[in-house]
Symmetry: C2
Subunit: 119 residues, 2 copies
DNA sequence: GGTTATAGATTACACCTGTAATCTATAACA
DNA sequence: TGTTATAGATTACAGGTGTAATCTATAACC
């Protein structure tokens, strides 16, 4: 089993990053919008435990799940992967693509300029 | 067979985006750095044809492969997928993450500011 | 205490992907 | 023209992923 987080698993991670620990039932409840069978969610939780990306504490017969990897680290790692894969590591190209293809509000533009000033 | 381009397949696509049409041998030659068996590359070409992301013209017994999907469209689609998946669609967050975590040269910063001006 | 509901564990199964080896037809060479 | 090299097609096979159903043990209820 690899220890990469699949797309579906990431959706489960988001729930636990938002709030934890949670029982599987609570996770299922918070994923209602996904329209996944409860069994499916439990499979994901199980696999994620095996991958070592989440852990749990037993509480009676139930488990209380919590994230092990940090959201920031995950985002960093995904971002770098994406940067290398799609933009061959060229940050400028990546930024230009997003700046040009997405509508940015005046506020956002101002905010980003400020960030650039600080660099 | 899905019509998404896998990671390995994308590497093959890059070759054809750079130059096409190419025979499988030429593609193999341009992928020497990948250290893939020739058979492996041919499998990828085959699958990509089935997925409809590349096409070919017969030239005698050989095929001349060419991309069907455009690089720009691919990048757009991957970028949007990434944006939604990792940043929940929030471009500002995405841009901030890359601006803050990557070293940008003065030139790059100037260039990006210029882009922002134009928005 | 016996029965039932439920929690997590195990099993299932098809499709995708990485990574080739083998098959089959034919072009090219001797 | 018979043999061989080679092109693409087909087959292989393990591990990951989506999507659950079934198994097994136990907590909870009657």
């Amino acid at each position: 089993m690899s220890n990469r987080v699949s797309e579906s698993e990431q959706i489960v991670m988001e729930v636990l990053w938002q709030e934890s620990p949670l029982t599987s039932q609570q996770v299922v409840a918070r994923l209602e919008a996904q329209d996944w069978n409860e069994k499916t969610v439990k499979t994901f939780l199980n696999r994620m435990v095996k991958k070592g990306v989440i852990g749990f504490e037993k509480e009676g017969r139930k488990y209380l799940y919590h994230p092990i990897i940090k959201r920031e680290e995950y985002i960093q790692s995904e971002s770098n992967g994406f940067l290398n894969k799609v933009f061959n590591g060229n940050v400028k190209d990546l930024l230009a693509t997003f700046v040009q293809n997405k509508q940015l509000s005046k506020q956002e533009i101002a905010y980003l300029k400020e960030l650039l000033e600080k660099e």
